[in-house]
Point group: none
Chain length 416, copies 2
């Protein structure tokens, strides 16, 4: 089976947004063993969309559309497909109920054009939208499959994962199963990691090993094909062991884990609470933890001490420390961590301070950052970082590194 992905939207052709959907869908299809030969982007224009559909039908068995399912006149994907396939659109009651409920919940009037979103291709399988209004569709006609997905990634991705992918897997009805497993690493660059596993990457066929890097993290996706789930998992397990022998020291999690979710988990496992005093990150560390459901079991709270004065008067960092060492110092970070731990009465206290950038601070170059973590029993660890001059990349890196150090400390048998 081979596939073509058609993204519909003039905003893509105007360069206002990037077609991240094609990448997401492609990576998902790769897991299912479906080849993708073309991506196409076409604007909100019925004639050109129809041409794109006809072309895709001439060269693919599976055509996946994203975008153009919304309420406005510009949204014409399902209308064009219905016309092209000589079928009609019918009202889907469940989708209509869900749209009405949405407007009730946000307490805004539902305009007439929103009803259009509940129309679906007759005889399609409706794909529920858990994060928005427009439902998706799975439609087969002659020997082709058409999948229609909404444009916004936060609606499209879960819909593909939860609704479309299982239907596709069933349709493929292959005698073999494909299982994937992702290993997540931090504290090592992509090039360095690849160098360490170079020979394993060269000889791979089943399982395959696919490296992927983003935002300072590196992932390895192991994908195995076999006749049973158990057999595939066995193959993955062998490859995982080979990889762990080489780069296991940098592993922090698996699959959908994030550094923040693992931090919440390891703290929950120990039943430890945490607080933070943040300067350059200004709440980002605590916010990232709070993004994980269940964070309230471990996150008590903390302070944002952005001004020098607030570090002294609100948090209680001794003025002498700041006068002697400045705020971009290990001493200041340690004092912040210890003070917040004490004030909020938590097991762990975190202190984050430094020059976020783009400017230098106290003569220290942009990207000079101190992380201090106060653990129980008086153990305090501090780390000096030298990052770039990119303010927001730096702030995120500091949060990730803090999570990584907490995970490492708590999973290395440092119980006290």
């Amino acid at each position: 089976m081979n596939a073509e992905i058609i993204a519909v939207g003039s905003e893509l052709l105007l360069g206002q947004i990037t077609n991240t959907n094609a990448r997401y869908i492609s990576s998902q299809l790769a897991e299912l063993g479906i080849n993708v030969y073309y991506h196409t982007v076409v604007g909100d224009n019925a004639d050109r969309l129809k041409d794109a559909i006809q072309l895709a039908e001439s060269r693919a068995d599976l055509i996946i559309f994203s975008g153009g399912l919304g309420p406005t006149k510009d949204d014409l994907t399902k209308e064009t497909i219905a016309h092209h396939l000589q079928t009609q659109l019918v009202m889907d009651d469940e989708a209509m109920i869900s749209i009405e409920a949405f407007f009730k919940r946000i307490n805004r009037p539902m305009t007439e054009n929103n009803k259009k979103q509940a129309l679906v291709l007759e005889n399609c399988q409706v794909l529920a939208n858990h994060n928005g209004m427009a439902p998706g569709m799975f439609y087969s006609n002659l020997d082709k499959i058409y999948i229609l997905l909404p444009g916004p990634p936060k609606e499209m991705e879960p819909m593909f994962q939860l609704e479309a992918k299982p239907l596709l897997a069933k349709w493929l009805n292959q005698g073999e199963v494909i299982v994937s497993h992702v290993l997540r690493f931090y504290g090592i660059g992509e090039a360095e990691l690849e160098t360490k596993i170079h020979d394993l990457l060269d000889v791979q066929s089943n399982p395959t090993i696919a490296p992927l890097a983003s935002d300072g993290e590196v992932m390895l996706r192991i994908t195995a094909k076999a006749s049973t789930d158990q057999e595939a998992k066995g193959l993955i397990s062998q490859t995982e062991q080979l990889l762990m022998d080489r780069v296991g020291t940098y592993l922090y999690g698996y699959n959908d884990d994030s550094l923040a979710s693992r931090t919440v988990e390891v703290l929950q496992e120990k039943n430890w609470t945490i607080s933070a005093a943040e300067s350059l990150t200004a709440g980002l560390f605590q916010s990232e933890l709070a993004a994980i459901p269940g964070a309230s079991a471990i996150l008590i709270g903390g302070m944002v001490t952005y001004s020098i004065d607030s570090k002294i008067t609100q948090l209680g960092v001794p003025q002498e420390i700041i006068e002697e060492h400045g705020v971009v110092s290990g001493e200041c970070a340690v004092a912040m961590a210890m003070r917040i731990k004490q004030a909020f009465n938590t097991d762990i206290g975190v202190g984050l301070t430094g020059a976020a950038g783009p400017s230098s601070l106290e003569g220290k170059p942009a990207g000079t950052v101190w992380i201090a973590i106060a653990f129980p029993n008086g153990i305090v660890k501090s780390h000096e970082l030298h990052l770039s001059d990119m303010r927001n990349t730096n702030r995120l890196r500091v949060v990730k590194r803090t999570c990584y150090e907490i995970i490492r400390h708590l999973t290395n048998g440092n119980d006290s």
Copy 2:
């Protein structure tokens, strides 16, 4: 003139990387007034690439390729184009010198396959690569223009900007300029906004009005063509006035503004400081302000009071308020805002509390949120929100709404 962008590379079809080049090139072409009707992605396969070229020639005057100019056997863009156009590749001396110099600089031996990178289409205009080895090409044949660019964005973008764009502008030799202007709105849905300006959207031709929605915000891009910059700006100004009469009350900014950047700006203009006490957002509001360079002039700091106890013991919210009204209440939000304003001695204090989701809290459904903002002179405003059960969408919406209310208060002549 209309264009098609063809990105070449199997890694795109496998979902390993995102096609950011198409977006960049599209936005650049939009500035030149060149319409883009299609983006295509094709793998490292000569037959399928040839098909894509023929198809593009049938529907575009300008075809821009990115990728496939490198040294390996997989790189076959220029070879395929040369074969298709029945021309040949010739060695470009300048490119060869530059490649040799590169290897000398990094002190590595130049392998034979690197010479392939200096081959260019005969009679093309060579586009210098300031950040890599493979040169680009600008080639005209019959009534078509072919532009070949390298794949890595850090090589492609400066090459397009510095080398290809001036050649294109010259080729167009247009007597007209194109100017765009973006209006940014908050507090109104895309469908509702379009309903209000429906008749203006229907009759548009010059300027055009393009609506775009993302993350709870709606944008309108006004684009005018005229013979002078001034004339184009005049046309935009007329259309802007018509739009402002209908939906001006929701406008918060222009072009690259964000709600956070506008908040920092309006506070800087008034020379007012701000602090925040955050529960469900857990630092996200302060972090978003701190993401804007220059935030330290207005952001003093604040607290994350995630646990109930920290609201009472650390922030000083009266226990009776929480016992009587709960933490998901206007009373609690107001007390948080007033207490943090007082403690951090700022002009504005913000209190954010509610049920982030996915679970309900104190019997209030997920998405029930209270925002309180304490302004100078004892003015305190509070807002009750009913959002979805999506934790992180909610948290971001709360931050955006808080920014919006601050901007609205400070720009509506509420000076006190």
